[in-house]
């Protein structure tokens, strides 16, 4: 048994594909590629795959993650090549690596930080927006309602914002860079930050691009240094605390 992790791109052409549909797309591509992915036992066998944190609908990403258990060792480069031959336009495995055999129970569950560049159709003076960002970050609580869940929940976003800065402010568009907590222990969505800043008047951002995913220093001890380096490499710099 071997585990291979793929970093893939989700591009413009598939940005409206939901996470659930994306999972099925990968399953079908893996079956077409005839890669020896393990099947789960039980009533309804399916491929043993785990996915990194979902992208919001309409967002693109360069740092998306997929881990798979293989029945027999297959070189990661071959996995990437054969999978890419079967992926629809807009999806591409950029790199793949083997997870060392002694850590059998590995999943992508400890990925808990996501970095986004978000472009919003809105005009605002750079200075005014900067001070609005400062005000937001100075608050202890940024409470939002999440309508999708039932019963409706309120969430404090503030602890989930690791950094937030203005990249560019133009007449029709402002561009933000944000580093947000994500994953099973709670997180913030880029759209929520945009709304909290009073930008975009409720519309989805014109562009939302995830540039990096990684496990933070505060993540469970199971996160190995090698893996942190690997995920960091996906974003082209060393991880920060």
């Amino acid at each position: 048994m071997a585990q291979v992790v793929c970093r893939y791109r989700k591009g413009e052409a598939v940005k409206w594909i939901s996470h659930l549909d994306l999972k099925r797309t990968f399953e079908r591509a893996l079956r077409r590629a005839e890669l020896p992915v393990e099947l789960t036992q039980g009533h309804n066998p399916h491929l043993k795959l785990s996915f990194g944190p979902p992208l919001p609908l309409g967002a693109t990403g360069d740092a998306e993650l997929l881990a798979m258990h293989l029945q027999r060792p297959t070189p990661p480069d071959e996995v990437a090549r054969r999978l890419n031959e079967q992926l629809p336009p807009g999806l591409e495995v950029v790199e793949a690596w083997l997870v060392p055999g002694h850590r059998k129970k590995e999943t992508l569950g400890d990925v808990d930080v996501a970095e986004y560049v978000v472009a919003v159709r809105d005009g605002m003076e750079a200075e005014a927006l900067r001070s609005r960002i400062e005000e937001l970050l100075a608050r202890d609580e940024i409470v939002v309602h999440r309508g999708g869940a039932r019963p409706e929940r309120t969430v404090n976003l503030r602890p989930f914002i690791l950094s937030l800065r203005l990249e560019e402010a133009g007449e029709h568009e402002v561009r933000l860079h944000m580093r947000l907590r994500t994953g099973s222990h709670g997180g913030a969505r880029p759209q929520e930050i945009v709304s909290a800043l009073g930008l975009g008047s409720g519309e989805l951002p014109a562009r939302c691009h995830r540039v990096a995913l990684y496990a933070s220093a505060e993540a469970p001890a199971a996160t190995s240094p090698s893996r942190r380096r690997r995920w960091a490499r996906a974003r082209g710099q060393e991880p920060r605390g």
């Binding site: 549909d21 077409r32 009533h43």
Partner: protein, 583 residues
């Protein structure tokens, strides 16, 4: 060449992936390199339309030919339709995002009467005049086909041509007739193709109320339009590179068409006359196609499509070999249509050794007398034996389909449905023993709709109030905890009957209903019977003349010019049904 972008609309609509293309196996051809471009359209939302095999076959046949190209379009969901109207953008194809009005042919299938307002909605959104008579020389040819085409009259005013019968048989002849010709010349050429009905070449005489219309040809058009039929199904083209949708569609699985037509001869059903004769694909062909489809799609389920899949002469061997070949790889086999007998249950056992999803049987009527009238060849013994086999081998869920309002039906026959279900539930509890608490019986009740080209085409449908009263009988009767009762809205059945037996006057009603805002009529949340009633009233037409009238053998029927077999043999079959009714 205009290429449209909907990018700015997509953030505002539900399921934007319905409009984005790029699915695996979708075909992108250069329009400049072919002689005719087809937009193939299904008049319902993407998830429904993508599950329809017919258009995939035509897509495959056209795109396999170097001179032709086919692309797809579906009815935009109301939120997207509204966004398109607001922004003034016309409806475009998925593949090249060109407006439908720039294609040579817009081919629209007619799957079901309640999609007809969507057909008009699609033409309107595409900027194509809804009425064929209003289309100028540059408009695409709008060609219809599919199951609804066997009575083309209610949609005749909106189509330039309608193909009767099986499309793969005629589509290349149609493409040849259309390729680089003027509109009038193309219509002349189309009218010469067997099976193609060009409504503008016919006169209509309204010979009485309701479906009593006479359609007669002008000039060289044929008096009766024959139905195109694939003679050798085994050699007929079949798409194995099936388009794999991103979205979860109604049937997101590999499809094999194992059989076409049906020889059972149920008297209410069009399957015999309209889809017949019964033809099979061979074991060798099907196994090879299964390999190809799975390799090309990566699906984890193969569905064996047929009206009644256990009727295929090699079904046991087929199922065994498919399970042996694909089971280990986690790829399942599905039989969507079973008979209510033990053979079917043992087949289902073979494919679902672990996963017991639920079985569906269609006794259609509660009493043996009424089953004999409709010629549904299922006895109570068959049904109980099938239920015993199912419940003793692990199933706990059963779904039963019945109809109310069938010819000669009395309240006792309706009570008999309740009686049969109750006895079946009690029997099932006995078989299940300690697991009886998990029993679930879904009972689905539809209203009988008299369909053209069936022995019951002359029969009246029950009035809406009668159907509703019969529903209440069952509602009061079936109070078993394990039984879940559902039914088709009687008003939906009435509309279905009126359109099903409709003529060009009903076409005027459809156009009015569309103008009044009717769309997605088969979706409960959009069905507006009040608007339909208004449309009938404004057109001065009585729905009941179409749905509830008893028609006579000597009276002209709006669909008599479509040749789906011998009318007098249908009549004799109806006489046999009614003669046996009193016994």
């Amino acid at each position: 060449m205009q290429v449209l972008s909907y990018d700015h609309l997509l953030p505002r609509v539900t399921k934007p992936a319905r409009y984005t293309d790029g699915e695996w196996n979708a075909v992108h051809k250069d329009a400049a390199s072919v002689r005719a471009c087809f937009a193939l359209v299904y008049p319902d939302v993407y998830e429904v339309g993508m599950s329809h095999l017919g258009l995939h076959i035509l897509y495959h046949v056209l795109n396999s030919h170097q001179d032709y190209a086919a692309e797809r379009a579906y009815a935009p969901w109301p939120d997207m339709a509204d966004e398109l109207r607001r922004s003034g953008l016309p409806l475009a194809s998925l593949e090249s995002r060109r407006p439908l009005r720039d294609f040579d042919v817009v081919g629209i299938t007619l799957p079901y009467e309640l999609t007809y307002t969507n057909v008009l909605g699609i033409l309107d959104l595409a900027g194509i005049p809804v009425r064929a008579a209003d289309r100028g020389p540059d408009a695409p040819l709008v060609i219809g086909g599919g199951p609804g085409a066997v009575n083309p009259e209610p949609m005749a005013d909106f189509f330039d041509a309608i193909l009767i019968g099986e499309g793969e048989e005629a589509i290349l002849e149609i493409a040849e007739a259309v390729g680089s010709r003027s509109r009038e010349a193309a219509l002349d050429a189309l009218a010469r193709i067997p099976g193609v009905y060009v409504p503008s070449r016919y006169d209509v005489e309204f010979a009485g109320p309701g479906p009593r219309s006479r359609v007669t040809p002008r000039g060289e058009a044929p008096r009766r339009i024959s139905r195109r039929v694939v003679s050798d199904l085994d050699r007929a083209p079949f798409p194995t590179r099936q388009i794999v949708p991103f979205l979860e569609t109604v049937h997101s699985r590999a499809t094999l068409e194992i059989m076409r037509g049906c020889s059972r001869g149920c008297r209410f059903c069009q399957a015999g006359g309209v889809y017949g004769p019964r033809r099979e694909r061979s074991l060798e062909t099907l196994l090879q196609q299964a390999d190809e489809v799975i390799r090309a799609t990566g699906y984890d389920e193969i569905s064996l499509l047929a009206f009644t899949s256990p009727d295929h002469s090699q079904i046991e061997e087929l199922v065994s070999q498919l399970v042996a070949r694909f089971g280990r790889r986690g790829i399942g086999v599905a039989l969507p249509s079973l008979r209510a007998d033990t053979f079917s249950v043992s087949l289902a056992n073979k494919i679902q050794e672990v996963r017991k999803t639920g079985l569906t049987f269609a006794p259609e009527a509660g009493s043996q007398r009424l089953r004999d009238v409709i010629r549904k060849q299922v006895s109570e013994n068959d049904l109980f034996a099938a239920a015993e086999a199912a419940f003793s081998s692990g199933w706990t869920r059963l779904k039963l389909y019945f109809m109310i309002g069938l010819p000669t039906e009395t309240d006792e026959d309706v009570e008999a449905i309740g009686d049969l279900v109750e006895r079946l539930a009690a029997f099932a509890r006995g078989v299940l023993g300690p697991r009886r608490g998990r029993l679930q019986i879904g009972v689905s009740i539809a209203g009988f709709v008299p369909k053209p080209h069936t022995p019951f085409q002359w029969e009246p449908q029950d009035e809406v109030e009668t159907l509703q009263r019969k529903q209440r009988i069952l509602q009061q009767r079936l109070r078993d905890r394990a039984v879940k009762l559902s039914w088709t809205d009687a008003r939906v059945s009435a509309l279905e009957a009126a359109i099903s037996r409709g003529d060009r006057r009903v076409g005027q009603v459809i156009a009015r209903a569309f103008r009044l805002g009717c769309r997605f009529d088969s979706w409960g949340e959009y069905f507006r019977f009040d608007l339909w009633q208004q449309a009938f009233a404004e057109a001065g037409i009585d729905l009941r003349e179409y749905a509830n009238a008893r028609l006579g053998f000597d009276e002209p029927l709006a669909w008599d010019h479509v040749d789906c077999g011998d009318k007098s043999s249908l009549w004799r079959e109806a006489e046999r049904a009614l003669a046996g009714a009193g016994e």
